[in-house]
Amino acid sequence: MDKLTRVRKISVTVFLIFPLLLLTVILCSPDRSISANENRTLKTKADVKWSVTNNAFQNWLEDYLSDQFPLRDSLKQAEIECRLSFGAQELGGAYVGEGGRLFQKITQSDVNEAACLRYARRVNRLATETELPTYVMYVPSAGVALRKQLPEGASMYDGDALFAKLIKELPDTQVIDLRRRMASDTGNYYATDHHWTAQGAQSAYQAWCQVHEIAPREAELVSVSDTFQGTLYSKVPSHRVPMDTICTVRLDPLPELLADGQEIPFYDVAALATKDQYNFFQGGNHGIAVVTNSVIDEGEGKTLLLLKDSFANSLVPFLIGHYRQIIMIDERYAFVDAEQLAQEYGADEIAVVREIISTP
């Protein structure tokens, strides 16, 4: 056998053995069950499904091999780094702005305008039917507020046009316009997550006080974590993306929190040890969460019915000082009749706090 033929035979052998070797490694090494970065469970041997008539087994095997591939996270990171060094400004649905700051890409077609309008009409109806003072606080998406930080020409939905359409549907409420405040400082939003920071929430709180014609309470911001890598980081897991700091208001005593009937800590310190540290605020979202301020005696102070998404979670620590109770309703997790709840809890005010494009 001449040398060339030998080299060829070796090449063929490598081409056949290398994938089989990888396969053996995948099958023989212990399974990872969770990918923290992706916030999802991975397919393991225990999930195997058998079926002759449908593709359950086939799909399982395909997912299993990809999910348990050796060095999976590092390979993805390598790809991301590679793309970033070629100047990528958009990865996995996130824009990469100045200094590695990430923004969720939300284009006009991602916005369900009809649903937003429908929801606004419902809120207005609630205000007229309950005859309670009703406040609507729409939080601008980071990419809209901090537009200048986006890569040049990157498309986002038209926040002003949407805002204008929505307030027309809300004549019987008081809309708190946060647009200019939120646009004024990059520090209002996290660099690795779509939420606002304590600073952003505090600024919104000041706007709240302005509309309520009350003086904002002194609030001391304390840092609880400086290793936060949020949902957008999961899309662009790169060392070029800076870590975020989570701050919050120091509260003493802490308010009591009854979430879907269970007493849980208002500040969930355990969440800081998990991937999604934003769950520090009330342990994440709940259908109905009742926050009680024990500083104000029962029977005194006001009760606020708050229809909200996760943005409100970090705002409530600021608001609670002004109320005896805040009833936080996340309509994505609880199908409730808000009017009935307002009656039940004896609400004095109703407020909506949510990202402008989010609907239940």
Partner: protein, 469 residues
């Protein structure tokens, strides 16, 4: 099962090839048949029955044609042919076009008919044409009927080209069904070809496809430059996707000892649409020419008849690509261009400098892909209008897309013409030591294979975010 999947790359291909090389030659065909059936059943556990039916049916038709010949009943042979064509095309039409016909009738009559939602069996357009080519060739006495059902089954079901071609004609592989030469040189050349195709698909086509998808979703509200970027991306995507698939099929075929004919020959270098169709999806063009255009009379019965023949061929070519009016229009668009070229344009084009005739061809083809890729004719019309500048020539978004995608468009454009290959070949030819040359090529292929595999795995990286917490 698709080639660019973890199961195929890590499990199916290496296992099948290893078994195939180890077993004695007489067992290779059964091994290949069984693995092909497994390959098909992997994604279509039920529809495999249709493919098996077609296989057995045309195996029988071949034998029947032969028996009628030996029995001296040659005049009955045409009934067998008609039966085969009717049943094969009937199956294809039922699965592929029923909903299309219902939808069209419904929109014309507003009768409120509901669609049957029939799922299309994978590869049916390809294997139907393969079995037809066999029956027709036996009818024409160009090949002998195959007596071994395993060999015939293997020809129809062979996994390399089963799902997306090339359409292999029976006569082209008849001899190889019985005997194939397999040696390290051919296997290596097959591997290199396979890796080339895999990287075309995974590294180029997939990224380019995402560009088109995003821009197409703007539904014609974009500026002309944005539309151009989208259309160019699609033009390159479909080339790398399809020719990449053909490369993989030809490569695997070679590893198994088969020589499949080439399916693409740098079509984007063509100097006329006529030439383009001689270099794009060659196996389909040849099939239509041999089994439809020429039997209809081709160009031998005068110009008017030739035009009718062309019309029929291109309307059907359009429909073959998909059940939708945009595919029909796409086919007829080519009919018009080809007719014009046949009448006078071709001679004019030949007088032009090559850059001008190439520009004409590329523009014509680019526009055709917009029709082809759009969801429906309305979408295509809006996209074409934006391409013509209905929303202005360029805006900030266009420049963003240009910055974002110029690199992949440039690389894709460069690799879609033969210049790149020629440059590499010239460099390689300077290396006189054949072993060094091979080692170099193999190393590059190993890198491309690894990167492609990683990209296949990485595509499963899917951050699960409850949208808006």
């Amino acid at each position: 099962m698709v080639f660019s999947s973890a199961v195929f790359l890590l499990l199916f291909l290496p296992v099948v090839l290893s078994v195939y090389y180890v077993v004695p030659e007489r067992v290779r065909n059964p091994v290949l048949l069984v693995s092909s059936l497994l390959f098909y059943a992997w994604g279509e556990p039920v529809y495999i029955l249709i493919m098996l039916f077609s296989t057995v049916f045309d195996y029988g038709n071949g034998l029947l044609l032969e028996r009628l010949d030996t029995a001296g009943k040659a005049d009955k042979r045409k009934y067998v042919l008609i039966l085969s064509v009717t049943v094969n095309l009937g199956l294809l039409c039922f699965f592929k076009y029923t909903d299309f016909v219902i939808g069209t009738v419904d929109s014309l009559t507003e009768a409120g008919l509901s669609l049957l939602h029939i799922a299309l069996p994978v590869g049916i357009s390809f294997y139907t044409f393969q079995t037809l080519s066999y029956t027709i060739d036996v009818y024409r006495r160009e090949v002998k009927a195959q007596h071994n059902i395993l060999d015939f089954g293997m020809y129809i079901c062979m996994f390399p080209q089963l799902i997306a071609g090339p359409i292999v004609k029976y006569r082209d592989v008849e001899r190889q069904l019985a005997h194939r030469d397999i040696d390290a040189r051919r296997i290596c050349s097959g591997i290199l070809r396979f890796v080339q195709g895999l990287s075309k698909k995974v590294l180029l086509a997939n990224s380019l496809g995402a560009v088109w998808d995003e821009i197409a979703s703007f539904d014609g509200r974009q500026a002309a430059l944005t539309s151009l970027i989208g259309a160019a991306a699609y033009m390159l995507q479909i080339y790398f996707d399809f020719s990449g698939y053909s490369d993989m099929a030809i490569g695997i075929g070679r590893m198994l000892g088969f020589d499949f004919l080439e399916n693409f020959d740098y079509p984007y270098e063509s100097r006329s649409v006529t030439e383009f169709w001689r270099r794009w999806h060659i196996s389909l063009g040849t099939w239509f020419r041999e089994y439809l255009y020429i039997p209809l009379g081709g160009n031998r019965k005068g110009l008017p008849r030739q035009m009718v023949n062309l019309f029929v061929v291109w309307a059907l070519t359009g429909l073959w690509h998909g059940a939708g009016w945009n595919f029909v229009v796409w086919g007829l668009y080519f009919f018009v261009l080809l007719a014009l070229e046949k009448c006078f344009l071709l001679t004019q084009l030949k007088k032009l400098p090559s850059f001008a005739s190439r520009f004409y061809t590329l523009t014509a083809v680019l526009l055709s892909w917009v029709i082809f890729a759009s969801e429906d004719l309305g979408h295509a019309a809006r996209y074409l209008a934006s391409l013509c500048g209905a929303n202005g020539l360029a805006d900030a978004t266009s420049l963003y897309f240009l910055r974002k995608h110029y690199l992949i468009l440039a690389i894709g454009g460069f690799l879609s013409v033969s210049m790149a290959k020629k440059l590499v070949r010239r460099r390689l030819d300077k290396i006189k030591n054949e072993r060094l040359r091979f080692t170099l090529t193999a190393t590059v292929a190993a890198v491309l294979y690894t990167v492609s595999l990683v990209m296949v795995i990485n595509s499963s990286y899917n951050p699960f975010l409850y949208f808006r917490f």
